[in-house]
């Protein structure tokens, strides 16, 4: 996949219908008093629909910062983010929330779930926010819980599930909302290696069968080896981008 080759500066939305993510000159500098900490420094990146990409790199290289900007959770200091043809530059907090709700599925590192809701209700949560009908939620959530292998545990609360099971509920929730893109920031960091492998296999399967686009950050060599495309980040810059 070609990364920095094109120099398109078109601002029109849906200008790149085949691209789910398009980053240009993406920069994020944190300010701590007088000191400036550059976390992401001029990243250009394109992700095509249906890709499965791992963002790798040492601790502090800017993986989380980058994912947060792609996920409309944080705003860049400079550069542009386009997700599913929509430029995020000038959106208000509420519009960004709407963007996340409609187009992006999230799997966080830990504490993904709402403790007072059971697995089914957690998986249903984003669909509820999207205003989907009860009948549709019932149908979709039953299917995705079966896909992540938790059909039998639908009525358990997060506290009654293992860490791996909790992360699978989070994956179920992410895909139930039918997003254009699923972002996962070190989703396996708190899991044992068996659960981690299972979770990654699950995501690969969903990528293959549903054609869903995944962007995952990870340290884990097993995950990195297994990915079709790996982007290496160092000091906030892409140092290599390799596709198998």
């Amino acid at each position: 996949m070609n990364v920095a080759g094109e120099d398109q500066s078109s601002q029109a939305s849906k200008a790149h219908p085949d691209l789910i993510v398009r980053l240009r000159g993406l920069t994020k500098t944190y300010r701590q008093g007088a000191i400036e900490v550059p976390a992401v420094r001029g990243v250009d990146l394109d992700l095509a629909r249906g890709e499965f990409t791992v963002l790798a790199g040492p601790s502090g290289s800017g993986k989380t910062t980058l994912l947060n900007m792609v996920g409309a959770l944080d705003t860049p200091t400079a550069g542009t983010v386009e997700v599913d043809g929509q430029t995020l530059d000038q959106l208000s907090a509420t519009q960004l929330a709407q963007m996340r709700l409609q187009r992006i599925g999230f799997v966080f590192q830990a504490y993904n779930l709402i403790p007072v809701l059971n697995a089914f209700e957690n998986a249903e949560y984003v669909m509820l926010l999207q205003g989907k009908t009860a009948e549709m939620r019932q149908r979709v959530v039953s299917r995705v819980l079966a896909q992540v292998g938790l059909a039998d545990l639908a009525s358990r609360r997060p506290a009654e599930l293992s860490g791996g099971q909790q992360q699978r509920v989070a994956v179920a929730r992410a895909i139930a909302s039918a997003p254009a893109l699923v972002l996962a920031d070190e989703p396996t960091a708190n899991l044992d290696s068996k659960s981690a492998t299972e979770l990654i296999e699950l995501m690969h399967t969903l990528n293959r069968t549903e054609g869903m686009t995944f962007l995952i950050s990870s340290h884990d060599t097993k995950i990195i080896e297994r990915a079709r495309r790996v982007i290496w980040l160092e000091d906030g810059k892409i140092v290599s981008d390799s596709a198998k």
């Binding site: 509420t94 409609q102 504490y111 007072v116 926010l129």
Partner: protein, 423 residues
Amino acid sequence: MIWRLAWRSVLRQRRRTLITVIAISLGLALILFSVGMQIDTHQTMIDLGVRMGSGHVAIQAEGYQQHRSLDYLLSGSRRLLAQLRQLSGVRRAIPRLEAAGLVRAGESSAAIAVVGVDPSEEQAVAGLARKSYRRRGRYLSADVRGNRPADIYIGSGLAQTLQVGVGDRVVLTVSPLDDRANSSAAFVVCGIFRTGVTELDSFLVQLPLSAAQQLLSVGDGLTQIAVLLEDGDSARATAARWQARFAAQHGTAMRREILPWQVTHAELYDGLKLDKNFNYLIAGIIFLIIAIGIFNTIQMSVVERTRQFGVMMALGTAPRRMFALVVAEATLIAIVGAIVGLAIGLALHGLMVRYGIDIETMSGGVDSYEFGGVALTGTLHSRLPVPIVALWAAIIVAITLLSGIYPALRATRLRPVSAMRHS
């Protein structure tokens, strides 16, 4: 969904919710209890005061309220009494003739207020004439028997000063309306009362109206007609209406003052108002303490869930939904607290209605409590009109909701990225 989430979140913090609900419900119960007792006490005192005194509405010649002299007599009183008794909303119309006088028995004498009354009317009204105040003898009898002295009804304090008992003679001296300097007559003590109010027990006597009118040479003149209304709360409005109607009928030819009890019993009215305001102050303090407690609880529950709220916002939950969630939690706590508080408060009210609290028990031995010219005796009960109950329940719910607003606003201001890093 918001209600389900709110309900479960509230239930999850079982102990904290319980403490908050207890604080709200005890606060409400306490206020209902004290308000109920206060309303009953006040109503009882007003009722006693207007029966013994000037009625809900007093009709007098203009100027009498200020000068209190026989120069301000109510004329045409017979017709006026008959007219008043025809009016709807009037329970009783009570004729009174009051003057200053001196009472003597043997070597002792005392300055007193003389009140001429219609004995059968007074017994029906149950003011000073009520049985529970009678210590000795009987009440006044209406019939004046030839040359025999008429009855006089005196208080226990006066009886002690004069060293007289039932059946003893006393001589009453007054300044009559005609030219004579003084007018005296002998009376026989028919009974002795004790109200607990010194001004009455030591300084007031009652006579049959006809005997008083004769002694004072006022013909059928009265100083006042005290009117008891069916609805005491309408005293002000009724007095104003009558005053306007009277002015329209008679113009400036004849002037009367038609005054509500709030004016004629100003001391009682002001005292009750002060007592009420003091109660509001206490209620305000109780509510402030409750509000601080609730605020603290909700604030804590929001801070504790910073990470969870961060995740919810990251997933696309709109800020106004976060606000609604926190307010919904406060609402549930408020409603449960109000329901429990109503249950406890109304149960206490029921006990007070049924059994009451004896004044002697409350005051530690004193059997009456004097206030604004009225003595409260016996047992205190409770009275709680539905609108009052609803008002206080609504106030506590509103306070709970207000306490939730700031924490709810804080929840909307969370930034998902930093909130999720919160530990």
